[in-house]
């Protein structure tokens, strides 16, 4: 997938990266395949951990687990419905499966199987979806821009959108320990390592204040938390003091923390790597409305549209997910 041919004098356009594109910014510390390593480590302590993939082990960091525990990895082929059904069957006999594919396939294609085979019986199956939101330039076939909207209505499903490698490493054992079904939005490949600089521990169902600030409250999830932290640091140069509340668990939502933090008279900005329909922004909005809190929200997220193909930095800038786009939006809203 190359960019259109340009004349020799024009500046060279960025090109769509290969499948494993890093979402790390230049100079950012990264950790390789944190999910695969965390799962392989957990499996050493817990013999009931098993893994499955639908012909995407290598592209979901599941290959690390597969190579460490080959007898506990089940290749299901490019068949997501069968994979989630089989994951349910493995859980029915007492094993704890992690099943990985791309988010688009886990949600759009295999929804009925996640819903009825896994969620309805409340099984401890952990579905791991790579390429959440806008983390690939391949266009709508691979961009799971509405996976949270699809899944939030599923009763009993825990949904986690981790920010970085630290979050992923700590989430994996927590998801395995949680008795019911979970969905993890996977960041894979060279994943930014950021939260070790903060006094932070991943706790399922809990939001965490990573930074305090008087003027702006960023409520962020997933990779947008690392962007929010960078934006907050840079806004300080403009004498804008921004707090960051990281919400790694989308469901169940930490409504207590959200109501507490939004009651302090600051500009509230939600940030998510997902369409503004049905994800974090609307979760926060309904939480505030149900509590009778008349707080305006500025939603930063993807537009309600099928997005373009292209290079990720170009697309993140175009659709408002980049640090510079976040800063511009905050200045406009203040």
């Amino acid at each position: 997938m190359n960019a259109p041919v340009t004349s020799t004098n024009a500046p060279r356009k960025l090109t769509t990266s290969a499948m494993i594109a890093s979402i790390a910014e230049e100079g950012q510390r990264t950790t390789k395949a944190p999910f695969g390593h965390a799962l392989a480590r957990l499996a050493e302590e817990r013999p009931e951990i098993v893994g499955l993939s639908a012909d995407l082990a290598k592209y979901t960091d599941m290959h690390i687990f597969r190579d460490a525990h080959p007898d506990r990895f089940f290749q299901m082929g490019m068949a997501e419905q069968s994979m989630l059904g089989a994951a349910a069957g493995l859980a029915e006999v007492g094993l704890v499966p992690f099943a990985s594919t791309y988010s688009v396939f886990a949600t759009r294609r295999a929804y009925d199987f996640l819903c009825l085979d896994i969620a309805e019986p409340g099984l401890n199956v952990n579905v791991v979806g790579a390429l959440p939101g806008l983390t690939t330039g391949y266009g709508p076939s691979h961009q799971a821009t509405e996976d949270l909207a699809i899944l939030r209505g599923m009763p009993g499903l825990t949904i986690v959108d981790p920010a970085d490698s630290v979050d992923i490493e700590q989430a994996v054992p927590a998801l395995a320990a949680a008795p019911g079904p979970t969905y993890l939005r996977l960041l894979r490949g060279a994943v930014p390592t950021v939260l070790d600089e903060y006094d932070y521990r991943f706790e399922l169902g809990r939001a965490a204040e990573l930074r305090t600030g008087r003027d702006v409250l960023f409520i962020s999830t997933g990779l947008m938390t690392t962007r929010a932290l960078t934006a907050a640091k840079e806004l300080a140069a403009d004498h804008i003091d921004a707090a960051v509340l990281h919400v790694p668990t989308i469901k169940p939502l930490d409504t207590e923390a959200i109501l507490r933090e939004t009651a302090k008279g600051r500009l509230v900005v939600t940030l998510e790597n997902h369409t503004v329909i049905g994800g974090l922004a609307e979760s926060v909005a309904s939480c505030l409305a149900y509590a009778g809190a008349g707080v305006r929200i500025v939603p930063i997220g993807l537009p309600d549209a099928f997005l373009a193909a292209g290079a990720l930095p170009t697309l993140h800038d175009r659709y408002g997910l980049s640090v510079s786009a976040i800063k511009t939006r905050v200045r406009e809203e203040l």
Binding site: V50, Q81, S82, G85, A88, E92, F113, D117, P121
Partner: protein
Amino acid sequence: MSSSIDSTLTPAVENSTDRAQRINALRESAYRIRRHALDMGEVQGQGYIGQALGVADILAVAYKDVLNYRADEPGWAERDRFLLSIGHYAIALYAALAEAGILNVEELATYGSDDSRLPMSGMASYTPGMEISGGSLGHGLGVAAGMALGLRHQGSSARVYNLLSDGELDEGSTWEAALACAHHGLDNVTTIVDVNALQADGPTAGVLRTEPVTDKWEAFGWHAIRVDGNDIGALLTAFDAARVHRGSPSVLVCDTQIGRGVPLLETREKAHFMRVEEHEWQVARDQLAHHHRNRKGSDA
């Protein structure tokens, strides 16, 4: 695919008297399952009674001859699993679970009523002995594949049986799972296809042609046996062969007759959801009893 039965695994040769007794006992079970299903159908005034009567012989053989389970401990870890992929056949499975001693016969009267443990479409969370919540068709075989992989991984000798219908062969997920079972060599899986040749919008041949069914399973790498699903002796032979077959999963393609055992319903225009008038339930029971007695007489 030719059968590769290991002679050391073949059951000891049975004398003809033993076999006749085994078959007769199963015919009695099948009769009671049909009778229970008619009683439950009357409670609702309608239902999937045609399918229940058609599949009763298969369920009698499964629950009274094939499956290893503990009636008083439905969650026993070493049990064979019987998955009802066709959730709307629940009426038949409840009848079989009563015959198996997992449910009390008295409870069958609550079928389909508010707060009953026996809902119209089978759900695992409601009913002891119901392994999965089927009904969204094309789910059972995928779950069976996972159970079989897991049981084999754990060193268990328990087997997994999945009952699906020929209508479910329309669902792509059935074939995804068929590939997976064959690829992983899951010889602890037996699929039973109830070929009643009827689905919601009419005869299978007109809705979406699935024949040749046996050839399809063989092409997918399964050990396939086609059998008259209303012939208990033939079913016994087929289940015995599936149990000892090694190296690939087995499928029993069972041709069954909708309404079997009740001439009134056997000859009625075939419908997915068969209407039975209020006064006809007793007629159906009488015909079933008459048919059963005559058959016994002719066998003697």
